[in-house]
Subunit: 448 residues, 2 copies
């Protein structure tokens, strides 16, 4: 089979990479030399030194040794001096990427996580998606404060140190931008899963339950039914969070992400973690929480992240990210290089709890098979699924459909549009379809 | 209270950081200006332009606005151009560190994870501990091969792509060097938890169960009771893995760590994951697996990672990392800045399964209290524990004691030495003691 261009994703397998019997023998030979060749030549050199016995000494520049890769012959690098590692030079293509079609200025920018290249459920913090409403900052934590005011007995101002001294919790949670998969409403069919679904990430977040801080300030839980969260960056992002969610203990004032401090572009030194709710409510650079008796209807809530419904009205405060899933491999932009076995894998999540089931179809939704769910399956967290598949070389339509523990079933486009119309931007959780062409090319298509 | 030097860890809280009533009013003022000041001046400027009404216009350079931090007034940075983020400039002190007392050459080096600064259970890959037997390499994955030979019907050579095409699993697992806490055998009492316990990390690893690859090669499971794993770096690290462990499906040929490809210093592009077993068996730069009928007793197994017993004999193949725990905060080198509330937190783990219980003592082991375990509690994975504590300003001896699901109880030094003597280097899982002095200083001490 002729060589083909490398696909975008992980399907780099090509049958010509299988070594034949002669190649196996050669590698076996190299391995033996790697383990024993050094000893042989070292002994020989020692013998040469002692007895000047050139007949038994290994000649300099032994071709068998020179054929070994450098890393098998020599010394590598000691531990890195800067004390913080980075990915391989061969992985520089795995990066979060901006979309040419969207804003990318200091006023507003977005980058997408490379879902097609990720494994498991944790998103490396360096690849976590970004959405900046007026650019990101690296704020000095020693100067940053968090104020709690409004319907509380004693307004409080916390330093970061004071917050970090309190008992914390750590939880694996997904975060998804409300606008994720937004372009698909218009059937724009952007090419790759990085751009269709890449405003999605998952981390182990560490912080203090917000209810703890509110109680320290003597919150009035009778009148105080909402909290306004406000960010310190230029956008002064403000979002209303219902007290019912806060009282559940789910909402965190977080400083940790994947074991270390939050990254600057993700809200360092403090961000709100609002599990199951769209990312814009996870206010970054969090500086103030005001307890009130009604939703605040701030500019960010009145203008953005609204759902334009078929009757022309706007639906507000619809921030729960409903059950959704997507196949990340094979996905748009990748290429199947040969017929035969493929591992179909992807991610499922629900803002209402745990994923209960994921079904996969390879014929556009006519037949479904239950996928294997990778444990642990956690609340409001990404869940990875997998299904074995033998591709017969014919066109195929790959879909995944998730069901969460409430029984909610991820809709297809026909079902979603019947309720929501077609002019929305936000909260698109429809079933994604990838077309595998006979050539092996994988493309983003929309089927109803 | 006078200002004191900042402690090493997270206990940076100082009472003088609490703002007084005037300071609260000022921050409240700033927050109001942040949200409304811009609108006011924008309206005013517009009014000035329309009606030339200087009496209502905001004067240029309004001091109230100039006092706001820059990040509240201006535009931040757009998404980073290089597509891969890094920690805040204020966190550069959180790094893995070499020990001056140990080797740090290209021939052999080690760096320790900063446990005192980490949250939750995931270790950021950039802070994962390192142990190099002949330095690390960044190996070209397209040229790397994994050979399987020995007692198999058809020896096989896999490319990375071929391995990545197979169905994978992802699992959160700890890895601990067999020499972790080794200096404490000699009661050297190195100062911080980074150096006493920092050859410990935890990641979500992704790969193919080794048994799958062996079965593809037609492994002889009757005769084949051991597998030799061999690395491709200069050390040609070789370790014997029992087939019983491999048949359980636990042992992985891994390429993924925390969602992305392994880091070069942790074995990119392939390493063995041998849950519960000391780190040296997790062979990095994995290039060969040979199935045999007996343990290989290679040089690495015959000389290193042995336990020198009280009777002068060496115990070999004792690679299981028994149940262990350590308090990471407060810990050596930190300082308690005032009396009152502290959250005692740390990590527990067992090479034999799940952690069942962690008890904490503040009086050197006379009295114990059950700590809260942070979920999810996973098999052969780090588990974080936490206990509330009110420090009365008197000296205290902090200890943690873990129990795993087999019922094994982490020993104290007296119990451990009774069995193992005092001349070992490896496999020290004794209870760690931190002395809190009346001054607030926290020190590493050994109590029996």
């Amino acid at each position: 089979m002729a060589s083909r261009p490398a696909p975008t994703g992980r399907l780099r397998a090509a049958p010509e990479n299988f070594l034949d019997r002669a190649a196996i023998a050669q590698v076996a030979d190299e391995a033996r030399q790697g383990r024993r060749g050094f000893l042989r030549s070292a002994f020989a050199a020692a013998a040469a030194g002692l007895a000047a016995a050139p007949a038994t000494a290994q000649p300099a520049g032994d071709p068998a040794i020179l054929e070994l890769p450098e890393h098998t012959r020599g010394l590598g690098q000691p531990v890195a001096a800067d004390g913080y590692g980075k990915p391989s030079r061969f992985e520089t293509n795995v990066q979060r990427r901006q979309s040419p079609g969207l804003t990318q200025t200091r006023q507003a920018s977005v980058s997408f996580a490379p879902l097609q290249s990720l494994f498991g459920i944790v998103t490396p913090s360096g690849l976590h998606f970004e959405r900046h409403h007026q650019g990101w900052w690296d704020i000095d934590p020693s100067k940053h404060r968090l104020m709690i005011n409004g319907l509380v007995k004693a307004p409080k101002v916390f330093t970061i140190d004071e917050i970090m001294r309190l008992p914390s919790v750590s939880r694996f949670r997904f975060i998804e931008c409300g606008a994720n998969t937004g372009m698909e409403w218009g059937n724009v069919a952007v090419p790759t899963v990085q751009y269709t679904h890449g405003m999605l990430s998952c981390s182990e977040f560490t912080g203090v339950p917000l209810i703890t801080l509110l109680e320290m300030a003597g919150v009035d839980l009778k009148k105080g039914r909402f909290v306004l969260a406000e960010g310190a960056d230029g956008s002064s992002m403000t979002r209303t969070i219902p007290m019912s969610l806060i009282r559940s203990g789910e909402v965190l004032v977080a400083y940790g992400q994947n074991g270390e401090m939050l990254r600057p572009e993700n809200g360092y030194p403090l961000r709100l973690v609002v599990p199951g709710i769209q990312g814009v409510s996870w206010v970054k650079y969090l500086r103030r929480l005001e307890v009130g008796d009604q939703p605040y209807a701030t500019k960010d809530e009145a203008i953005h992240y609204l759902d334009l419904m078929p009757d022309g009205t706007h639906r507000q405060y619809s921030g729960i990210q409903e059950c959704k899933s997507v196949i990340t491999t094979p996905s748009g932009g990748q290429m199947l290089l040969d017929q035969g076995y493929y591992s179909i894998t992807g991610l499922a999540w629900s803002g209402r709890g745990k994923v209960k089931q994921v079904d996969v179809s390879v014929d556009g939704g006519r037949n479904w098979k239950a996928a294997r769910l990778q444990g642990p399956v956690l609340d409001k967290c990404l869940t990875r699924f997998q299904l074995d598949w033998a591709w017969d070389g014919k066109p195929a339509l790959l879909q995944s459909r998730a069901v969460d523990e409430t029984g909610y079933v991820q809709p297809n486009y026909r079902q979603l549009r019947a309720v929501r119309g077609s002019r929305s931007i936000y909260h698109n959780n429809a079933i994604q379809t990838w077309l595998v062409e006979a050539s092996g090319e994988v493309k983003n298509v929309q089927v109803s």
